[in-house]
């Protein structure tokens, strides 16, 4: 499976419930700004895939996740957001290199 396919399959499972948000250290450290939440990160990845959103416009959202995986324990659809973010970072860096 290529990176984009993994990102698509996993991000589609997100129902935007927000259960992951409250446990996220980066959301809490950034004064509860949604932009720094796991839900936002998954939404932006999905927007990149479905609406051509340029993920590099949200680079600090992607790179402020410390991959602690606390969100995984909360996610009712079982999304490993940390894994997803690592894939998205690779993709984003590849894109920057190409540009």
């Amino acid at each position: 499976m290529d990176v984009l396919e993994i990102l698509r399959n996993e991000s589609q499972k997100c129902i935007r419930c927000g259960f992951c948000v409250y446990v996220c250290p980066s959301w809490n450290a950034h004064g509860k700004l949604e932009y720094y939440s796991p839900r936002a990160r998954v939404t932006l990845i999905r927007s990149m895939l479905e609406e051509n959103f340029n993920i590099n416009d949200a680079i600090d959202s992607l790179f402020t996740c410390n991959t602690c995986m606390r969100c995984l324990a909360e996610c009712p659809t079982g999304i490993n957001v940390a894994d997803l973010i690592i894939y998205a970072r690779h993709y984003s860096l590849q894109k920057i290199n190409k540009e």
Binding site: Q12, K13, C14, I15, R16, C17, G18, F19, V21, Y22, G31, K32, L33, E34, Y35, R39, A40, T43, L44, S47, E51, F53, D57, A58, S61, E74, C75, P76, T77, G78
Partner: protein, 462 residues
């Protein structure tokens, strides 16, 4: 949005609280699950209650739509800014103060229901309403949706637990509805009007809520059934025979399957699903009530009955019910929320009726619900990009709502109307002879919000 207005807002709330980047606009397009969306012009991260009045004065002056938002976990498109405008993120307002002497808790609206409950527990009390989304549902969102929850079988919905609210009216005026007393007959019940109004009449900034002492002991029992008929009979008999359960929940086979997969559990995946019951009371009295529940489950042919003993086992089985609600999300990119309630005696017919609709349209439906108060969530999963499949899903959703009306029930028990249920709400009003009430609702909206800036385009109010 005009730079002049943005500058005015920045002067009122601080430029650091105004968010306008493209990524954030994407993030705030939706609430949970459904497909309704809209792009805001800007988002304000509210950090002090006083800011809400300042923002509304400006919005009123320039007739700008304002969509108030807690955690955005509502499932009907209620927070989608379909007319653009300002989205207010109120999660920064999260102060909580427990007042045991008066039996109340004072909470700012951005605090979550779970945080409020946990704060009360420090004093040996609890906050009874407990939506399955309690960890994210804010007090403001729960009041504006009149949320229910697991303990609704005993304790009802948010309206039953709120005594007083601080509100900001559409022109920025701050006022209070209700009193922080357990009884109050001073004035029309405008507090009741705001509860369940989905941000269309006023913005709530603080609430005074009733609390209860924690029960001495809770016993949890889960029964797994071979047929929906048996599960429905068990639910009916538990209520009919005078047991007053704290929780009486249902999750069907699809829901249990999903929870097993996501959480790595191995609970029985049977065609009749799971009935989950909590009974509570004094330490030495509760076992006899639990025995009665077990006896009813045996008589209604439960294939397996589990009585978890440790707190972690109890939590695991409750997680099955919580995760079951989200089952369609794991399998399908699209999710249509179901939220019907029927008279208690007709729950079995509702369960079997939904199953027939599932077969008729060949769609994925996971039904969970607060069965103890007649509330079922038949949630549908489908792919919005597959036109034919999505149409079948929408037809099934409509038929489920019509089934609820036919059984003497309602199309919205606790999740509200938002965008998703606008058509079926009017249908229900028509069938029940409530069009004059609908007319009054529209008049009330005009009085509270003459410029139609508060969450416009929702609740079938235009």
């Amino acid at each position: 949005m005009d730079k002049k207005i943005v500058d005015e807002l920045a002067r009122a709330v601080g430029r650091e609280n105004i968010i306008m980047d493209e990524a954030s606009m994407k993030i705030f397009e939706y609430g949970a699950v459904d497909s309704h969306k809209g792009t805001p012009d800007l988002i304000i991260h509210v950090t002090e209650r006083e800011q809400v009045s300042k923002i509304l004065k400006i919005a009123y002056n320039y007739s700008i739509p304002v969509v108030t938002r807690g955690s955005g976990s509502s499932v009907t498109g209620a927070v989608a800014p379909t007319k653009g405008g300002i989205v207010l993120d109120l999660r920064g307002l999260d102060k909580i103060k427990v007042n045991i002497d008066d039996g109340i808790v004072e909470a700012e609206v951005g605090a979550t229901v779970l945080d409020v409950d946990n704060e009360c527990k420090k004093y040996g009390f609890f906050f009874p309403p407990d939506p399955a989304s309690a960890r994210v549902a804010t007090i403001g969102g729960a009041l504006a949706e009149n949320a229910g929850g697991m303990r609704g079988a005993r304790y009802g919905v948010m309206r039953d637990w709120v005594l007083k609210i601080e509100v900001v009216l559409s022109d920025g005026t701050v006022t209070y509805f209700g009193e922080s007393t357990y009884k109050n007959r001073a004035g029309y019940d405008l507090l009741g009007l705001i509860v369940g109004s989905e941000g269309t009449l006023a913005i709530i900034t603080k609430a005074w809520l009733k609390i209860m002492p924690l029960p001495e002991k809770i016993v949890r029992i889960a029964g797994f059934f071979n047929t929906l008929d048996d599960a429905g009979e068990a639910i009916f008999r538990i209520r009919r025979e005078g047991i007053n359960p704290l929780i009486l929940e249902f999750a069907d086979k699809e829901g249990v399957e999903a929870a097993n997969k996501v959480k790595g559990f191995s609970y029985p995946e049977l065609p009749g699903g799971m009935v989950l019951v909590d009974v509570d009371g004094p330490k030495n009295g509760v076992d006899s009530i639990a025995d009665r529940v077990i006896k009813i489950m045996q008589e209604t042919h439960a294939a397996q009955i589990i009585r978890p003993e440790t707190p972690s086992e109890m939590e695991r089985i409750m997680d099955v019910r919580r995760v079951a609600f989200t089952a369609p999300g794991r399998l399908y990119p699209g999710f249509i929320d179901g939220d019907i309630a029927v008279p208690l005696s007709r729950i079995k017919e509702a369960l079997i009726g939904v199953d027939k609709i599932r077969k008729k349209y060949n769609v994925f439906i996971a039904t969970v619900g607060h069965a103890g108060d007649g509330n079922l969530h038949p949630n549908i999963g489908a792919d919005p990009n597959n036109k034919e499949e999505w149409e079948r899903a929408e037809k099934a959703a409509e038929e489920i709502n019509l089934l609820a009306i036919e059984l003497g029930g309602t199309v919205s028990a606790e999740h509200g109307i938002g965008k998703l249920k606008e058509d079926v709400l009017i249908k229900q009003f028509q069938v029940r002879g409530q069009m004059p009430m609908y007319k009054l609702m529209k008049e009330i909206k005009k009085i509270f919000d003459p410029k139609n800036i508060l969450n416009p385009d929702k609740y079938a109010l235009g």
